[in-house]
Amino acid sequence: MSDESREHILSALEDALAQAPVASGPAAPAFPEPADPAAPDWPALAREVTTNGGRFALARSAAEARGALASLVKAFGVRRAVLWDHPALARLGLADTLAKAGVEVAPPDLAPAEFKEAASECDLGVTGADAVILESGTVVAIARPGRERATSLFPPVHLALVTRETEILPGIADLGPWLARQRGEDGRPPSAIHCITGPSSTADIELVKVRGVHGPTTLAVVAVEENA
């Protein structure tokens, strides 16, 4: 059925374009000039993240980053957390902070079915951003082994760290060239890239804005200046 439909659709489209070609051909799309890599403009990022309903903090050292995590744990009564396997998380010693605060961390060796249930029981997910977009306050997260999609989605609080591994993109248009560069050695793009712009939200009942529908109620973005 599908093969026959495929031929039918493709030949219908070819006939459509042959019998009524676009008169002069459409104008070649004039894409904006790619912007230069941006300097980390924390006030701009802070403004956009908070406009989107997120929280922003700047940590000027690893100790300040640990402090930001500790205060988040306290503020939201975090008891269980799920973490990305990410060099910045290890470098900043965040697991120790969680252990000291008595927070149970989801083991990294859970099988997929168990991981799904465990992540859904967590109050906090911690990721490291692969990129941020200054124009919109967007945090970009690439899924990889050890960097699960659920970490930024299932728990009610998502902490995204902006670190030296994070690329700073000035505008939404810069997402195009950035995405084009995200290809593995096999030439394939990562299985999932998520652009996260504020907490999960809805306005489906009488247009009243409610934060925290199926994803996090709270998005905390902490930018870390490690060698300042």
Partner: protein
């Protein structure tokens, strides 16, 4: 004489519903304000709209090649591509995928295209439990109603109605607090997500060069539907394929701003096939269903093909004076507002032939369309085509303008000759007292006068003009629309 209910019947019901009128008014004003604010703070917005128009036109002009490239890319990622000529084929493909995966429950992200093909009843007939997971879609699924807005499908319901619905259908304690109601839906649906076998979504775009499917949302239900279940099926209209990431970024720069006034929606996901070795979540199998359902026919018409540029942002609905009064259900189609007026008759099945006649021609929709679709131009072309060919685009339904071609020709003749016009006016003045009665008795005239007062012809227009002019001037001074 009975006939199928059309736009006129459905909109009359909507206009008589005071609650709906209030909901609609506040909703469209809310969306209008948000979009206006976002565009006021968006330097280069006009160039960004030009770019989307050019990007979409360039993609449409090589649609067959892009679809073949997309098929190769998705297959190389380990995904499967299916082609469906119409809704019935698409539904059969989905049912087959579900059967092969031994799926018993499906969760669905909000998608216009699955409404278009009426997927839910088809999957339920195949023995699946199907749960809508977008809050508004979930509300209307529980209520057994169709969506009434592209962006906010439950915009016709107020918080009391939702509270009563959740109490009745979910056994929840009655509340009318939107936060509490949202939490009830979150808790109920979280369990569904974790147990579902199949996640079904639409797609905002797919990228030919990589096989990436782009999904845009605010709630996180689409991310849940593509993260938790074993199998992900994306259903996409064939017009949504784009060459690559630069084109996707051009679309994203205007999409959320036009829809909700956000710079970006909460979540934009770029998904490339099934999960890879060592990854612990995301679907293990990925299927992309490419749907034609009338789109190749639309592409064949140079006047109408720009309709295929649509990003489904809903901005045209929010500025449409007809939508504001009639509401989405009056369209009798998942696609409502100006874009629904264009899409519905073109998708065939004899639906919506009367829709192009329910347009004031005000042009507000073209002012806001991020892809610069000349919606009023398309609507006028549809009227003309319907008048020229009673079978356009599909012979299943007879419809057409209430003013017959013969009457129009007669009017042209009378209005073109001063002598004839004066004679006709004099005749009308003589017959005036009988006109109201005649319009009640003659079925042909009644179609015209049902929603219009018969004109008072006894007084010549020159005599009633001074009062009319005073009235108009008064309204202009008050700043109201005459």
């Amino acid at each position: 004489m009975s006939r199928a209910p059309g736009f006129a019947d459905r909109s009359a019901d909507a206009c008589a519903d005071a609650q709906l009128q209030a909901n609609l008014k506040s909703a469209v004003l809310h969306f209008q304000r948000n979009r206006a604010k976002a565009f006021a703070a968006f330097p280069g917005s006009e160039a960004a709209r030009d770019l989307v128009r050019d990007v979409k036109d360039a993609a449409l002009s090589r649609l067959p090649d892009l679809l073949r490239e997309l098929e190769r890319s998705v297959t190389a990622l380990g995904g499967a591509v299916h082609w469906a000529r119409d809704g019935a084929e698409a539904c059969a493909i989905l049912a087959e995928i579900a059967a092969e995966a031994e799926a018993s429950t499906a969760v669905k992200g909000k998608s216009m295209v699955t409404e278009e093909i009426a997927l839910n009843p088809a999957l339920e007939a195949a023995g699946l439990e199907v749960y809508e997971t977008d809050l508004a879609e979930y509300i209307i699924q529980l209520a057994g109603e169709p969506p009434s807005h592209i962006m906010a499908p439950a915009v016709h319901k107020n918080r009391r109605q939702v509270g009563e619905l959740f109490a009745k259908k979910l056994g929840a304690e009655y509340t009318e607090d939107p936060t509490e109601l949202t939490n009830i839906a979150r808790t109920t649906l979280r369990r569904r997500f974790l147990r579902a076998d199949l996640g079904v979504t639409g797609a905002n775009a797919a990228l030919a060069d990589s096989g990436i499917v782009v999904l845009v949302e605010n709630e996180g239900n689409i991310r849940m539907s593509t993260t938790a279940p074993r199998v992900h099926v994306a259903v996409m209209g064939i017009e949504k394929v784009l060459p690559g990431p630069a084109e996707a970024a051009a679309m994203l720069a205007v999409l959320a701003r036009s829809a909700s006034g956000q710079k970006m929606s909460s979540y934009t996901s770029f998904l490339a096939g099934p999960r890879r070795d060592g990854e612990r979540d995301g679907a293990q199998a990925f299927h992309l269903v490419l749907l034609d359902n009338g789109r190749s026919r639309i592409l064949a018409d140079p006047e109408l093909r720009q309709t295929l540029r649509c990003l489904r942002c809903g901005a045209c609905l929010n500025v449409c004076p007809v939508y504001e009064k009639a509401g989405g259900h009056a369209w009798g189609s998942p696609y409502c507002g100006p874009i629904g007026t264009c899409m519905t008759p073109l998708l065939g099945k004899g639906r919506g032939r009367d829709l192009p006649f329910a347009c004031t021609g005000c042009g507000a929709c073209a002012e806001v369309c991020p892809a610069r679709i000349d919606l009023p131009g398309v609507i006028m072309a549809l009227r003309r085509k319907a008048a020229e060919d009673p079978a356009f685009p599909d012979p299943a339904e007879r419809g057409g303008p209430p003013l017959s071609a013969a009457a129009a020709k007669l009017f042209v003749k009378v209005a073109g000759s001063p002598g004839l016009f004066r004679a006709a006016a004099s005749l009308a003045r003589t017959l005036d007292p009988g006109l109201a009665l005649a319009s009640r008795l003659a079925p042909g005239l009644r179609a015209w006068t049902r929603t219009r007062k018969p004109p008072r012809l006894r007084t010549p227009f020159t005599a009633s003009w001074p009062a009319l002019a005073r009235n108009l001037k008064g309204q202009a001074l008050k700043g109201g629309r005459p």
